[in-house]
Amino acid sequence: MELAWYALLGLFFASYLVLGGYDYGVGLLLARGADPTRRRALLNAVGPFFLGNEVWLVAAVGILFGAFPVLEGELLSGFYPAVVGALFGVITVTAGVQLRSRPAGPRARTGWDRVVVAGSVLAALGWGALLGGLLQGVPLHADGHVAGVTHLLTPFAAAAGLAVVALVAVHGATFLTLRLPATEAEGVGRLARRLVPVALAAVGAATALGLLSDRVRATAQQPVAAVLLPVVLVAALLVARAALIRRRPGLAFAATGAALALPVALVGAALWPYALVSTVDAGSSLTVADAAASGPTLRLLGWLTVPLLPALLGFQAMCWWVFRGRTDGRAPVYW
């Protein structure tokens, strides 16, 4: 039962990275558009999905709290700077996207768009550093608490953060290739193609730093998965590039989406059976089973929420279906 909940937690967080990922990717690309109408078009492409994407994060943390309370406490407080950074990013993007269209003046809008760009970078960087931090282990002591926050300051965590920023940028550009009117999709498709090598380099750098780091090597419990999944990630990026060249944006979007979901699978698989691996005392590492809530709580959550999962997915799918296809000026402009 713990495994099922752990998988569900991973599913929700990975879905958040995939869906929220293109919000932040599009947010990043606002930095390039000097032309206000173009920036408006980018935001319009995300428009109807924006609110529905972020809920995956809130739901993931809800599952974390309900099903893995001990992990929740240590994970969030143990990675304080990364989590707070990501949170600042998420908030500024949420607020910035909403606020940018309220003032009419072009200068105010440009200002808010910069806020959205900064927030997008911060969010991607924070979540990347958190995932990297999990892979390099934490100073979890015998009393069950993670001591201090400086353990996060390593080249590997920074590289992981930057890799997620690069992945998010590719993903956002690919989303726009799929979603903008056909006339504008050409240009953004070229951009997405050019961003793939950047993402490959960033992922490669993070992988190399990880392989060189003693902490990461000691933390990885399943070395096969830890090596295999980054290879799959690279393959996904290559598929995305090939699909972009062949003008198959749907396939490319699936591939970049997979590239954003894979880091979550990598962390889950590489650390298994642990959820948090201690760098100071092997006996203090927290297993998934120990981190989970007790049986009655999991059963209750299972009875109350699992029957509703089809409804959750169904209404999300309804949103994607209603607003499918390229933006065509038929949906109202709000953001």
Binding site: P48, F50, L51, G52, E54, V55, W56, L57, V58, A59, G62, I63, F65, G66, P69, V70, E72, G73, E74, L75, L76, S77, Y80, P81, V83, V84, L87, V90, I91, T92, T94, A95, Q98, L99, S101, R102, A104, H145, V146, A147, V149, S294, P296, T297, L300, L301, L304, T305, A311, L312, F315, M318, C319, V322, F323, G329, R330, A331, P332, Y334
Partner: protein
């Protein structure tokens, strides 16, 4: 400054700011459901315009409110990791249910509602708003279940210092839940009604165009506010009995409180087990405001032949009274939350044992950073609401026809 005090200050700031957004969201969405349903049933254009105008204000408030809610959710793990460690098995469940079955759907529906004008069939579009409102109330319910458990921990057993869930129905029938939920929900409706009445009053005082439209929303807002203040008072006073029985130290001393404190002293060691005086001060002022707002009923007869508009001064009263319910809801939460001290879960987990092990420097930086960020969001929210309220129902961005060019650059709003 120690970590505990900083974490408590941060919780107080975050929760207060978050709740200012919550009351407006919950109150306005209820009124919006009424407006849009009337529009769909009667097909009168004035109700479409009312839905768009109030919907625009609602959406601004909702989206900025999400940001504060996200901080709320993360704060438990960031600052109060002891809470998840010792009582997470029980306390985490209602919060997890809230995110999955309530908030998740609420935001998904709202996104479709905002962008669904002119694209979805009217019935579907209306059903989405009903979905938003119902999930909003479900959200309020589960959050109150979680909060009531902290006030009066029921349905659990403690093994090795960790609480385990034994009886979930006890959480749902918690004596500190029922009346408090009614109190909070009617307070939100009061705020929604007051906001609607006050904004309408401003337009009627300034004699802006759309007199008929704002006359309608003034009446809706005032009647809603008057009905809800009575509910607020009823549910409020009805809480004293059940809450006083399960939390004897909350409303001052008495034999039951002394007995409980003696029991705690024996089990947890000597200490100060009475809540800070701030709790009862907050309660006193809140009751004062609540009784004062009961005077709203005196304005109702003035709706006859529009005397309320002709006399003008009642409009000023409504406008000037707008801050009062907001002050009252904050004071109410101070009474409820500070009155629980020194416990995070009453009689079960002392507050100092729940705080995370991060250093005071990190906590201080987080307190300052988040307070500034959320404070800015709250101020921005109020400025935006005021600006959009002042701009009138002429052409809100929400629900504008895609073929119609946006009225940019819009005329500067005449906001005094």
């Amino acid at each position: 400054m120690d970590t505990l005090l900083l974490a408590r200050l941060q919780f107080a700031t975050t929760t207060s700011i978050h709740f200012l957004f919550v009351v407006v969201t919950l109150g306005l969405v209820t009124l919006l459901v009424g407006l849009q349903t009337t529009w769909v049933l009667t097909d009168k254009p004035v109700y479409e315009r009312l839905t768009r105008f109030w919907g625009q204000l609602y959406v601004i408030n909702y989206v900025l409110g999400i940001a504060t809610g996200v901080v709320m959710e993360f704060q438990f793990g960031l600052n109060w990791s002891g809470l998840s460690r010792y009582v997470g098995n029980v306390f985490g469940a209602p919060l997890a249910i809230e995110t999955l079955v309530a908030f998740f759907l609420e935001s998904t529906f709202l996104g479709m509602w905002i962008f669904g004008w002119h694209r979805l069939r009217r019935g579907v579009h209306l059903a989405l708003l009903w979905g938003v409102a119902l999930t909003a109330y479900a959200s309020a319910f589960w959050i109150m279940v979680a909060n009531s458990w902290l006030q009066n921990p029921v349905g659990h057993e403690v093994h090795d210092g960790v609480a385990h869930l034994t009886d979930f129905t006890a959480l749902l029938t918690n004596p500190s839940l029922g009346m408090a939920l009614g109190h909070v929900a009617s307070a939100a409706l009061l705020v929604g009604g007051m906001l609607m009445a006050a904004v309408s009053a401003w337009h009627l005082i300034r004699r802006t165009p759309d007199l008929a439209l704002f006359r309608t929303s003034l009446r809706i807002g005032l009647i809603t506010a008057a009905l809800s203040i009575t509910l607020v008072q009823g549910f409020g006073f009805a809480q004293f009995g059940p809450v006083g029985a399960v939390q004897p130290t909350k409303f001052g001393g008495g034999p039951a409180a002394e007995e409980l404190i003696a029991d705690w002293t024996a089990r947890f060691g000597p200490g100060d087990y009475t809540p800070p005086v701030l709790a009862s001060v907050g309660l006193g002022f809140m009751i004062l405001i609540g009784l004062g707002l009961g005077l709203l009923w005196l304005l109702l007869p003035l709706l006859w032949r529009d005397w309320i508009i002709r006399l003008r001064f009642p409009l000023w009263l409504l406008l000037l009274a707008l801050p009062l319910p907001f002050v009252a809801v904050i004071l109410g939460w101070i009474a409820r939350e500070v009155g629980r001290q020194p416990w995070v879960a009453y009689g079960l987990l002392p507050t100092e044992q729940a705080v995370s092990g991060v250093g005071p420097g990190v906590m201080l930086a987080s307190l300052i950073g988040f307070s500034l960020l959320l404070g800015t969001l709250a101020v921005t929210n109020w400025v935006l609401l005021a600006k959009h309220a002042a701009r009138g129902a002429y052409d809100p961005a929400l629900g504008r026809r895609p073929t119609q060019p946006p009225a940019d650059p819009r005329p500067e709003p005449a906001f005094a």
